[in-house]
């Protein structure tokens, strides 16, 4: 068993029961294959950095779990089929799972953008 982390973006128009069903569905896919779910983190709807499937927003869900490598293939295959998932990414947690704080909605670019009007200013 290795620790993995899958982050996926649910279609922004999928809310309420439909949204919960999507999350439960993928939790179910993992548990059906003897994966050990460590954390399911719902980030909520946030702006995407670029449009994905013509959507400017998306609902992020992060799942951390321990599973065998074969589980990933099945999970990603099912995500590709599901039209409510607009993007996903799985990474291997090399140092195992460690709890991290939840990132909040974008509040940065205060000191970044003010003094950076010219990129090639050297």
């Amino acid at each position: 068993m290795r620790a993995y982390e899958t982050i996926y973006i649910v279609h922004p128009e999928v809310v309420g029961d439909g949204y919960n069903a999507v999350i439960d569905k993928f939790k179910g896919i993992l548990t059906d294959q003897q994966a050990n779910i460590l954390k399911v983190d719902e980030w909520g709807t946030r702006k995407l950095a670029y449009t994905v499937k013509k959507q400017g927003r998306g609902t992020y869900v992060l799942m951390a779990y321990e599973a065998n490598p074969t589980v990933i293939a099945e999970l990603e295959r099912r995500m590709r089929i599901d039209e409510n998932i607009i993007k996903f990414q799985t990474i291997l947690l090399e140092n195992g799972y460690e709890d991290t704080s939840l990132p909040t909605e974008d509040q940065e670019s205060s000191d970044d953008s003010e003094d950076s009007d010219d990129e090639n200013a050297e």
């Binding site: 670029y50 449009t51 990414q89 991290t100 990132p103 003094d115 009007d117």
Partner: protein, 88 residues
């Protein structure tokens, strides 16, 4: 580089050179992760490009981790590949 833009006298020249030395070596608590876009924002330019090491001041090890984290964040639409697109 001695090239000076005459039209912009008041622009601060030292844009990314405020902090000398690697931020991550100085502050061990600072994590490099694709989810921590607040930290990573500092290392991308306005255009969305990764800031080179000579400007960011990172050491080789940490610059590599930053680069990898930015690329992961781009993949999942947390950071832009380019600022050219308009998102409503």
């Amino acid at each position: 580089m001695s090239y000076q833009k005459p039209s912009r006298p008041a622009t601060p020249r030292r844009r990314f050179t405020r902090r000398k030395g690697c931020r991550f070596c100085g502050d061990k608590a600072l994590k490099i992760e694709y989810k921590e876009i607040r930290t990573l924002r500092y290392f991308i330019s306005e255009r969305g490009k990764i800031v080179p090491r000579r400007i960011s001041g990172n050491c080789a090890i940490h610059q590599r981790r930053v680069t990898e984290a930015i690329k992961l964040a781009r993949n999942i639409a947390l950071l832009p590949f380019t600022a050219g697109q308009s998102v409503d």
